[in-house]
Amino acid sequence: MSGASTTAHSVVEPSATSKRVAGFFVILYALISMAPLAWIFATGWKTPPDSISYPPKVVFDPSLEGYCNLFTTRTRQTNEYIEALGPPQGACDEVTRRREMVIAGQSNYVPRFINSLIIAFGSTFLAVSLGVFSAYAFSRFKIPLADDLLFFILSTRMMPPIAVAIPIYLMYRELGLSDSALGMILLYTAVNVSLAVWLLKGFIDEIPREYEEAAMIDGYTRLHAFFKVVLPQAATGIAATAIFCMIFAWNEYAFAVLLTSGEAQTAPPFIPTIIGEGGMDWPAVGAGTTLFLIPIVVFTIVLRKHLLRGITFGAVRK
């Protein structure tokens, strides 16, 4: 990356033409991948008839109905009843009354969203913490049957969720963990810890032992040396691992739909259940999905600079 001095014909630097061609394909791919997201975003601002009209409407009059329906529950009333209510309280009230309905209360979207935050962040924190300690142990100590243990840890991820959901459901019912945030945190931690151990072991293997040895000679215990020397240097790996764990826990659907129904339900199984008059309330689903994307996008952007190194599984030397 020597900047201005690189020539188009250098062996390591691709030519301007090939860069342009590559750039074209990357942009094309990005547009194709983002099209569904753009459609979801647009749907959130459509009226229910617009959202299912054929041919699909690309240009439309934006409406707040999707977001209003997402956060509220509504009941149908007669025109006389609505006229007797006096002036509407805010934009949502107005939109709702136009459909001959009144707002009856808050929907479950906010509590489900909060469940998602608690469960995803909780399980990510636990999986990464447990992962970094076990990865350190696998990396630094002679552990009998280390390779077999590592394979066993990885194998916990090989079964499809649907295959283990029923035994887990029965187990959780006995333990009083079904439909609880704690149960979901433990479950996602168990699934993610294998990924965390494998990813982090790669990163910690790369940190020379001399650092800890120097710290131990300098008067620190191994645990101190771990926190003072190893952790700061594993920061990149920890960030990358956290992103992967977070993405899994945030988007997880199969376990969530099977094991939660009320109290601990996360947003993914909740969003498709938003039913409006005469079928799915697509604008509300679009609105709910748009908002649901925000935390994971922010989390990824914050830790973005670590991600590139992360997806090479720690194989890149400094």
Binding site: A214, D218, G219, T221
Partner: protein
Amino acid sequence: MAEVRLESVTKRFGETIGVEGIDLTVHDGEFVVLLGPTGAGKTTTLRLIAGLEKPDHGLVYLNGKNAAPLSPAERDVAFVFQQYSLYPHLSVFENLAFPLRSPVRRRDEATIKATVERVAAMLRIEKKLQNRATRLSGGEMQRVAIGRALVRSPSIYLMDEPLSSLDAKLRSDMRLELQHIQRDLGATMLYVTHDQIEAMTMATRIGVLDHGHLVQIGTPREIYEAPRNVYVATRLGMPSINLVPAAAFSGQPMPPGTQTIGARTEHVVVGKRASGASKPATVDWIEHLGDQNHLHLSLGEHKLVTLVDPDMALSVGDAIDLSLQGALYFGADGERIAA
């Protein structure tokens, strides 16, 4: 009083011998250099003293006390590693202060600041204190690494080829600096290297290691002039000692039982072909080093390398006289026979 004593210490790594039966005492204020090629057990010896490895047999004594139950932190030794010695996420100041912030020897901030600044001045890195450790040149990094040992006053400084990653100029500067520091502090040092110049110039005593065994220990002069065997003799001397079968110098007086003659450059006398008494040799090649020339010779089927004055007018193919003026004599088992 700072003294380190190893008593028949053995350490194996699986089938590989790290060190075997090492007996070694480093006295207070002494600068002992362990010399040997890669794999001779130099680093293992340091790690055993530091407590980073546990001996399979034998004991390590620090100041007369058995060190076996002590953790590395409790042993009060300082270790300068060959590389990876600085914490990359910390500044130079923080790197130097790191040992002083440890739980076993925590100092107050004012003392830490004063100590770090004193050591930084001694190593001439005081302007770099706020730099990130990764934004230093190789020489500066190595100074900081040595500085991290100097901020403490440990019972012994253990140094594992601290200069090997530096270029020649810097290495000779640092060699001098280390000698000054060691003398000024009266420090006890155990220094590991494969560089014979470092060993010759810095050591109070040199210990020569071969495949985990301590073959000989003595002053640089003793090791150079009276090596115990062929192996030790080849460790010192530039160009290295010429080993020639005794038969090649059949006329020469030598002690009985001599199998091999070890001729250092100062033992080899060359002159223009004249007399009949000396051995005739041929010049194979001349390397010009400026202040001196390396002369590659053939004596029958044997090859020798020696030094000559650059003024001596010789060219490839010249026949010359070759005689020995003193030499080292080795028996069939490779042990030296006193002349």
